[in-house]
């Protein structure tokens, strides 16, 4: 029960433009205030349940991201916030990026938007809490990466499995 009522969040920037990071900070502060879901910003990966990740993952931060992910105790959920975290989108031709969080670690929820709106991040966050609860009770059997937050609002199709074929680049 405690996980559902108080999921602690850790935020890490893997090379974003800061647009989505600012919106994450807006979430932690008045008006959006995800503390009403019991979420507290934990600076320590060992305390975290939910990873809020931004950025297209540049080559230097990839190993750090993997390292952080491994330190977060199970069950954990990963939210890729923003287009660049989901697909590498505006930076896809840059020489120094891996192209999205899912190229390095498994992602549970993709939040769309460049920058992702706080409402969309909250939407993704509430989906993540659901997944976290399912994982805790061992009911989570569906494929990772099948939830796309904000897709309904943006009129964008679900990008489930968009990362297949990414390795070719």
């Amino acid at each position: 029960m405690s996980l559902k009522n108080s999921p602690w969040v850790m935020h890490f920037d893997t090379g974003s433009c800061n647009g989505c990071d600012m919106e994450i900070w807006a979430l932690l502060t008045p008006y959006y205030d995800i503390e009403r879901f019991g979420a507290i910003n934990a600076g320590n990966p060992k305390h975290a349940d939910v990873l809020l990740l931004t950025g297209p993952v540049n080559k230097k931060s990839a190993s750090r991201l993997k390292n952080l992910y491994d330190q977060v105790p199970e069950p954990k959920v990963v939210i890729a916030v923003g287009d660049c975290a989901s697909t590498g989108a505006p930076f896809q031709d840059c020489y120094n990026i891996c192209g999205g969080i899912s190229t390095v670690i498994p992602v549970d929820v993709f939040v769309q938007g460049c920058a992702a709106r706080p409402e969309a991040i909250i939407d993704g966050f509430s989906k993540a809490i659901g997944i976290l609860e399912e994982k805790r009770s061992g009911r989570h059997g569906s494929e990772r990466g099948d939830k796309v937050a904000g897709a309904e609002n943006a009129g964008i199709q679900s990008q489930a499995g968009h990362d297949s074929g990414r390795g070719e680049r």
Partner: protein, 357 residues
């Protein structure tokens, strides 16, 4: 006997919003030397921006989300010089208004960050609450909270309607008392002043040696502000930079707090002098040439250099203010106590995505 050890700060650290790594050599809680390790945010923007100049306008805002409008304005300014056109007066004023709004959002982010690093949780929340008013106003005006997509080569594509101008003025009236209160807290609160005074001191000579820019330079007594050049509409609205002498974390914070009030005044002046007219000039095909221009971003002077061949860009070089200010950490963190490191780092207002690009 003192023992020396090395403490890594970052790339993931609660005190930093962004990935930067400081290796602090510490003996007896005193920092004896600092290595600044950057590159966790390097995407290769200069390369990507020069690939296709029709897409550059979109991508240039994604260099940095905190000062996106400054990046797109200086890019437009530079490429307009190559095209040989000038944005109409109304467009210049609109650019100035959005630049000042973005300075406000950026300064409140920096102030909130300093407050949080100093342990003032509610001050941090209040700074962000004011900031949210501005973000929402910008959302109403441009349809976006972070990347406004207002600039185009030759002017702006989003006009500010009469209704929008009234909205701006009413929001300014609404937030001004709170901004003043926050400024007074940052300037006068005894604990906060004690906490920040003397921390991370950068003398005038050191500031010159490190080529500091923006609030960091102005806090050390250098009267340096690109807005004095009078780009966009700054020549018409009688601007004078705010300068202090102390050079410590307090002075840097105080400058930002006072610049918030100044920005509100500048926006009001812009609205007053805004006249009806065109908002964009027509840009035909891109000629060969090169140009250089600068604006004052929230963190200081932001410089773009462009070189174009027929119909394409061959080189785009960015010099961001943070890339000049972040290395200063190596100097001002020396001899600081370990507990002061987050405050001093926050007072420089490091923006890693600008530094690394």
């Amino acid at each position: 006997m003192s023992r020396t050890m090395i403490i890594p700060f970052g790339p993931q650290h609660p005190a930093f919003l962004e990935p930067i790594n400081l290796s602090l050599e510490v003996s007896e809680e005193k920092v004896s030397s600092v290595k600044v390790n950057i590159g966790y945010n390097h995407r290769g923007m200069e390369y990507a921006l020069a690939l296709d100049y029709k897409k550059t306008q979109y991508l240039v805002e994604r260099v940095c989300g905190i000062c996106s409008f400054h990046h797109s304005s200086v890019y437009c300014q530079t490429i307009e010089a190559i095209f040989g056109i000038e944005a109409p007066e109304r467009a210049q004023i609109i650019r100035t208004i959005f630049m000042e709004f973005q300075r406000l959002t950026s300064h409140f982010l920096a102030l909130g960050h300093v407050a949080e690093a100093a342990g003032y949780e509610s001050l941090f929340m209040r700074s962000f609450a004011v900031r949210e008013h501005i973000m929402r106003l910008l959302n109403r005006l441009t349809g976006s909270r972070v990347h406004y997509s207002v600039n185009i080569i030759g002017g702006v594509r989003t006009d500010i309607s009469a209704e929008g101008a009234r909205d701006i003025l009413s929001v300014i009236d609404e937030i001004r008392p709170e901004v003043k209160t926050l400024r007074d807290v940052f300037l006068n609160d005894v604990t906060l002043v004690h906490r920040l005074s003397g921390a991370g001191k950068l003398t005038l000579d050191e500031a010159r040696d490190w080529c500091a820019v923006g609030p960091v330079a102005r806090a050390s007594g250098i009267k340096e502000d690109a807005r004095l050049d009078g780009f966009a509409a700054y020549g018409k609205i009688d601007f004078q930079p705010i300068v202090r002498e102390e050079g410590d974390a307090f002075a840097r914070t105080a400058i930002r707090a006072e610049e918030c009030i100044q920005s509100l005044d500048l926006i009001e002046k812009c609205i007053m002098i805004m006249k009806d007219g065109e908002t964009s000039a027509v840009a035909k095909k891109l000629p060969a040439g090169s140009s250089y221009s600068r604006v004052e971003a929230p963190r200081g002077e932001l410089v773009y250099f462009l070189r174009s061949e027929e119909k394409k860009l061959s080189r785009l070089k960015i010099k961001t203010p943070a890339s000049v200010n972040v290395p200063i950490l190596a100097s001002i963190l020396k001899n600081a106590s370990l507990a002061d490191v987050p405050v001093i780092a926050a007072s420089i207002d490091p923006c890693i995505c600008c530094t690394d690009r």
